[in-house]
């Protein structure tokens, strides 16, 4: 028995490290459906896609405190019984546990578009990044579905490699939710200056090609040639293995400020990272999933501490959870850095500079500054970050 962690990503890793740091000495088993130890995903649409995908360079450092952890890799959790305290794996193994960490993340959403499937890929794993990299030759015509961060980063990387890049999305502007319409439009101009084509307000009706995708038809009838399609149209939380336990799985798994699931049976069950729908005292009582890289670390630390306390028979810290969402993105030579949740804003204001150059944009809700984004101005964001952090005190 001991602790079972499902998901060998950043969140699972941080939870394990914290369990050890908080004095838990029992067994830890980490189950991951990928064949790799935890690795860093953001480079998969940036440096690694540009320069080549080297697994060793992407792996997270492993602290000595985890030397005795048992890793079960290449094997998925397919079911769980939280009252009986067991997790069942794809190969039939049943793992009993005293404590469970849900760290299974998300997977890219796939759209049911008619036509050939070969040539369509998403970008979340090392294998997918390798497959995309192999196809990003200078003459390739790359069709990107989705104008969020991953889609835009993939477009920028494709252009840097000399490939043709076309972005198709339903949104009015690229990255409109996290950046707002004004900065989104400015980012679109930066991409267009680099030769990216946009078809916004459009979806793909069908793909064409005998063996593999050769072209696509858009909703307005436009026909676009394509050698490879990269799909980045949102995500689906990996929660199927938790069904049947009475948990709230309506959008990821709902947890309280201690990262514990709200369920009688789930007394020693916590969740972390992209899959966890958690409250954040900076943004009121509503629980949200936040797919930012710093959140697995923040939630992993809290969840690890909660579980260590529960397993020691102590009451965990149930005080507010406060984590500053932080996001960065590299597109061409531009560095976008955001703090807070700009997507919650009811109004935006360019605080400094011009959106077509280095700039700082403020995002406000009824309580004041809720987010800030800097383009090529990272070093000047500290006071804004402080102002957002102060929301926790009022």
């Amino acid at each position: 028995m001991g602790v079972v962690i499902v998901g060998a990503g950043l969140g699972g890793l941080r939870a394990a490290e914290t369990l050890r740091a908080k004095g838990y000495t029992g067994a830890i088993t980490i189950v991951g459906d990928e064949p790799h130890h935890p690795y860093n995903r953001p480079p998969l649409s940036k440096e690694a896609l540009l320069g080549g995908v080297d697994v060793d360079g992407l792996l997270f450092r492993r602290r000595e405190s985890l030397d005795d952890v048992e890793w079960i890799l290449g094997n998925a959790a397919v079911a769980s019984d939280l009252s009986a305290r067991t997790v069942t794996l794809a190969d039939g193994t049943v793992l009993p546990f005293d404590g469970l960490v849900i760290a299974s993340g998300i997977r890219p959403r796939r759209l049911p578009i008619p036509g050939p499937k070969d040539g369509r890929t998403c970008l979340r794993t090392i294998e997918e990044a390798r497959a995309v990299r192999d196809r990003l030759t200078p003459d390739a015509r790359v069709l990107i579905l989705g104008a969020g961060f991953i889609g835009c980063e993939a477009a920028a990387t494709a252009r840097k490699l000399g490939a043709e890049a076309t972005v198709v999305a339903l949104d009015e502007q690229p990255m409109i939710r996290p950046l707002g319409a004004e900065l989104g439009a400015a980012m679109r101009r930066r991409h267009e200056d680099q030769g990216v084509h946009f078809h916004l307000g459009q979806s793909i009706e069908a793909f064409h090609g005998d063996d593999r995708v050769r072209s696509a038809t858009l909703s307005d009838g436009t026909e676009l040639p394509a050698d490879i399609v990269i799909e980045a149209v949102g995500s689906v939380p990996n929660v199927e293995w938790l069904e049947g336990n009475g948990l709230d799985l309506s959008d990821g798994v709902l947890v309280d400020s201690a990262m514990q699931v709200s369920n009688e049976a789930g007394a020693n069950v916590v969740a972390v990272g992209d899959v966890a729908r958690h409250p954040d005292a900076l943004f009121g009582p509503v629980a949200r999933r936040i797919e930012h890289w710093n959140i697995p670390t923040e939630t992993g630390r809290r969840a690890g501490a909660t579980l260590a306390a529960l397993l020691a028979g102590e009451e965990p810290d149930r005080g507010p959870f406060t984590a500053m969402p932080s996001f960065w993105s590299d597109q061409y030579d531009h560095k976008i850095q955001s703090f807070g949740l700009p997507g919650l804003a009811t109004s935006t204001r360019v605080a400094d500079g011009d959106v077509d150059g280095p700039c700082i944009v403020e995002y406000h809700d009824d309580r004041g500054l809720v987010g800030v984004v800097g383009v090529d101005r990272t070093q000047d964001l500290v006071p804004y970050r402080k102002e957002i952090a102060a929301r926790a005190d009022c």
Partner: protein
């Protein structure tokens, strides 16, 4: 005992996440470039380890 810190400047993208964990060791200068101390007192070890954890580029090594 002191903590030794090394940042791989080929990897570092100057996002300054490390500065929020240990601002006595890591800072962004006026031009937005990372500057850091190569040594810190052992009492700062946890903060420096934390900075290495939150570095998006995983550019920081601690000894």
């Amino acid at each position: 005992m002191t903590v030794r810190i090394h940042v791989d400047m080929d990897k570092c993208q100057h996002y300054g996440q490390c500065c929020f964990e240990a601002d006595d060791v890591f800072q962004l200068d006026d031009a937005g470039k990372l500057v850091y101390s190569t040594e810190a007192d052992d009492s700062r070890r946890e903060a420096v380890e934390s900075a290495a954890d939150v570095c998006p580029m995983q550019a920081i090594t601690v000894e």
